[in-house]
């Protein structure tokens, strides 16, 4: 298992290099002269354009620029925002990242809490009324857009009943209970669709697995039903579900950006949206890089879990 993990981690190095290059290459896709565009377009003064060029080293060849940026990024230095504030990009990300992460993890938690039991119930009783009603629910969950669900939740739980706050965010270290109250609605809004796809995937996988010869073997040896489903079947059914969880996590990271806007949560979403507005290149690069690296890391965890679940994968 150790060497399996090591091999997977080593295989990531070229991938991460490629990602950093693509992120940096954002400079190249800026139309026209990047220095002029970033300095404010046609109305920018030649001095301002020249200053921008020097500041971002746009006068150097691209590989030099990239190398400089990469070596600094590796040291945790993502540069300074072009506009506003003395806070560096790294600091900006550091303060906002935990907010977004807690939202994504919370939403994933909601997705698992909904998806796994629902998937098991409908998977072991395929065709029953429990299965049919769960399937109806999951279709609904996938069809409903998360921003619409978010607004409905706000209407019901905040506007009408005042049970939970409509917007806002406090850090968990300052006020854990307040944090929890603030997070419930956004996590629900974001996690329901994920829960629905996990449930569907798990249902399908369980139906397949329960039909396998080795489940018949377990029954023929008189194992308890709980053990057959909870251990023998679930470990085999988990592999395809894990794939969905990995993909869901990527979706959640994207989804947080919209949900953060609706609930006024100061996460990476508002940071990057602001930066896109002002074409603040270092911020955009920084946030995209961090998001991409997290995505790669999540997929690494998924890959390693495959190895745990399936000894055949481990051997390859």
């Amino acid at each position: 298992m150790g060497s399996f993990i090591l091999r997977r981690v080593l295989a990531l190095i070229p991938l991460l290099l490629l990602i950093t290059f693509i992120v940096y290459a954002l400079v190249l896709v800026i139309p026209g002269d990047p220095a002029r565009t970033l300095a404010g377009g046609t109305k920018a003064t030649p001095q301002a354009v020249q200053a921008m060029r020097l500041r971002l080293h746009l006068n150097e060849p691209i590989y030099q620029q990239y190398w400089r940026w990469l070596t600094q990024a590796l040291q945790g230095n993502l540069g300074k925002p072009l506009f506003g504030g003395s806070q560096t990009v790294a600091e900006g990300i550091r303060t906002r990242f935990p907010v977004t992460l807690s939202l994504a993890v919370g939403a994933m938690f909601v997705a698992l809490v909904i998806g796994v039991p629902a998937g098991i119930i409908s998977g072991i009783r395929a065709g029953s009324w429990q299965d049919r009603s769960t399937t109806f629910g999951t279709s609904l969950g996938i069809a409903v857009p998360d921003f619409w669900l978010a607004m409905m939740l706000v209407v019901v739980f905040a506007v009408k009943t005042h049970l939970l706050p409509a917007t806002g965010y406090v850090s968990i270290t300052k006020d854990p209970l307040g944090w929890l109250q603030d997070m419930i609605l956004p996590c629900l809004a974001l996690g329901v669709a994920g829960g629905a796809s996990i449930a569907r995937q798990l249902r399908g996988a369980l139906i397949d697995v329960l039909d396998q010869d080795y489940i018949r073997t377990a029954r023929s040896m008189g194992l308890k039903n709980r053990k057959i489903i909870g251990v023998y079947a679930l470990k085999n059914a988990a592999t395809p579900v894990l794939t969905v969880i990995g993909l869901q996590f990527a979706y959640l990271l994207g989804g947080t950006f919209i949900i953060e806007q609706i609930f006024s949560i100061p996460g990476l979403g508002s940071y990057i949206l602001g930066a896109i507005d002002t074409k603040d290149l270092p911020v955009i690069q920084g946030v995209v890089l961090v998001t991409a690296v997290i995505f790669v890391f999540v997929n690494l965890v998924v890959d390693i879990s495959y190895g745990y679940l399936s000894p055949k994968v481990r051997a390859q």
Partner: protein
Amino acid sequence: MTDAASIAGRVPVVATTTEPRLLAVDSLRVEFAGPAGWLPVVEDVSFTIERGETLGIVGESGSGKTVSSLAVMGLIPKGNGRVAEGTIEFEGRNLLELDADAMRRVRGDEISMIFQEPMTSLNPAFTIGKQISDAVRAHRGVSRSAGRKRAVEMLDRVGIPDADKRVDQYPHEFSGGMRQRAMIAMALSCDPKLLIADEPTTALDVTVQAQILDLMRSLQEEMGTAILFVTHDFGVVADICDRVAIMYAGQIVEQASVAAVFARPRHPYSEGLLVSMPQAARAGERLTVIPGQVPAPGAIPVGCRFQPRCSYAEPECGDVPVELVTIADGSSARCLRSEVVQLRSAAEVLSLATSGGERGEREVSPEPLLAVTGLVKHFPVGGGVIRRAQGSVRAVDGVDFSISPGETLGLVGESGSGKSTVARLVVGLLPATAGSVAINGEETLTLKGKSMRDARRHMQIVFQDPYSSLDPRATIGDSVGEPLEIYENLRGRKRDERVAELLQLVGLGSHVLRRQPHEFSGGQRQRVAVARALALEPRLLVCDEPVSALDVSTQSQVINLLGDLQERLGLAYLFIAHDLSVVEHISHRIAVMYLGRIVEIGPADEVARRPRHPYTEALVSAIPTPDPDVQRTRKRIVLQGDIPSPANPPSGCRFHTRCPYVMDVCRHEDPPAYETEVGTTVYCHLHTSGPVLGGKPVSLIPT
């Protein structure tokens, strides 16, 4: 006639009068949900098993033999299946009255089961040891370490070497034979009184089958377990069973001791199964077939269920259902005419074939149709984008043979010998690593594009599994007509006319043109596959295990079809199979493969009956003979262990690790080709070194 006990050499333990019977199934009726309500799949089935006894249940697919055994286990799937009638008494308790948890406690502890497919019957996500240990712990409240200890002990007992290490391995690290041993270890881990074995050796090579049967026999002697042995193979019955129940269309049609059934079958179906075996016909002659097919549940005839296929049937047989009647010697049969008709014994049936037979005169053309020389296929192993390949699996490692027009060459060997790879290389489905495949003198391996497609017309392939080799969504007409569209640009009516001709040729009516594969039985699908292969009028048909997925009676129908087509169209066959008796029947010459090489090639009769290579001898001796008198007394060679990995073949003669006659020279030197005067080529040092055989059969070596 000899009686059963003396043939068997072991007397079943007879139950004392005070103890209830081990298992008594009475008037069992099992139904499955069909589109129009419940359909009986098993009806009026009654049988008993005494302690320590082996009862064989024999029948073709659809006969209800597996369903009956699942009913005993309480494993009929709920929802779409149910036991509608009858009792299943195990040591006096009616299992059908137990609640779910009580029945669960019986399973695995008192009755356990092993299945046909060792490759899929073990959970891939857990170690072998954990699975055995969990089974033990489900019934005995022992600790994990005690469970593991029991697992090691049982693995050791079923002959797994290094059991204390292998206990922590996963199923994919075990070969098929070892997995079946592990299954047996698991099934016997709680000392059950009854073991149900559902075709436990059908998916295994004959050599491994012989090992597993030996193992089951010796474990039975040791532990006194009774066995319910479900099989379709009369040879296996003759080998291991004490009594036998023959099932047809959901009913038992004959029940008797093994000796009695082989000495005088009482039901025409029993005789039919015996007679349709390839061993029962002279080589090259047509096999006797049972016409038609097993009726589907819901389409069961009113009277005798076998009557539409029975050659002894009289009009009255079709009128009323037939009861199972006891006959004088303890046998029973479900046949109105069982006292009237004198059916043939196994010995009589087999004697039909002993004279060897003529395969008819073939014109031996000087130019071979197919010439294969130095054929090599290595598959790289390991490696990936970054690392280089770490070695190669030498699936085919230097194979030479030729086939004349109109000739059949049989290719046999265990799984892993490389025979299917040869088939794919010959028709160009796989690129060869080296060597030459020439058809009509034209080299095909170097051809590209159009010239390759043209060369391919001359050779077509038929695959093993007719269930997966036809597009399930295409009509029969589309499947058979596809090559005609591609090569001859035939469309519409013209195509359909030609397809209809082809279907006629393989014995299917042209009315099946618009049907889809799922409407057909396995045998009919294989006919469709043959029709498709014949569409381009090839001169060579490569048949890769074309009958192994079929039932005995269907198998003989397809073999006859292939024989007829050869006669009418002058086809040549490369016929690949693991069943030597089928190959012997159909082939003019036989080549035996082991670990990527041919070890013996020559006239079918010589290779199959007077083998000159120890491996061929072992293969021949591993095939169980469907006659208990012969099977239980003849000399048998049980090869030890599994075929070695082709990634790392043994040095010298590749067979030396398993050869009972191994000499020093075999370990170091590749055996040279030795040509015998009967036309066989054999690669074995026995003919050139040591006590020289000089081309004589291996059986002449004194033991």
